[in-house]
Symmetry: C2
Subunit: 97 residues, 2 copies
Amino acid sequence: MESANSCPAEGLLKMLSGKWKPQIFRIAVEGPVRFNGLLRQLEGASKQSVAVALKELEENGLLEKVVIKLKPLHIEYNLSQKGQSLIPVFRQLESLQ
Amino acid sequence: MESANSCPAEGLLKMLSGKWKPQIFRIAVEGPVRFNGLLRQLEGASKQSVAVALKELEENGLLEKVVIKLKPLHIEYNLSQKGQSLIPVFRQLESLQ
DNA sequence: TAAGGTAGTCATGTTTTTCTGACTAATTGT
DNA sequence: ACAATTAGTCAGAAAAACATGACTACCTTA
């Protein structure tokens, strides 16, 4: 049982909480990300963690999964509309420190 | 060993991550908070968790501890300057949903 | 003197999150 | 045929977060 979310900001904070999601989000702001690419960039991250993080970011509508049917079959994750709407918040957080 | 924080927003996200910190922060925006008061308001939260959350929020400079030397000795936690600077970010997060 | 409220701490146990390493499956290059 | 790259999944172990209940210490009221 989950109690009703009485704090609206809490949901979005939760979507970005965890060991790797903030970094994945930041990288995704720069451009499309891919599974193995992230695995290389995020030192110490396990396949498992990256897979779960990507899945949840997608489920929460922050990233969009795109299958590219070329050559060795690529899968990209792009920032969704909702994801892009979070960029200003991120910028604001960065400016505070 | 903690790797250098390459994502500036990440630090602040971490300061607000956890089961109770977002709610505590939100309540603190309304006014001073106290230990037992929070324990009553946050259904399901343990003394332990509230104590740790308050300590970390204070260590991270988002809350300020104030000892009120009256009657049965009260301890208040107020939003610091830094904590107040986070309010607009919270508002923005709320507006996004 | 005992009860109740203040604000916690501490040891222990459970639950959640994360990591490790093996494995799958399709495609490409040697 | 074999190795490597793509993108994962899965079982199990370790680590981190959280809950439970007992306990401390100070102060006030009955």
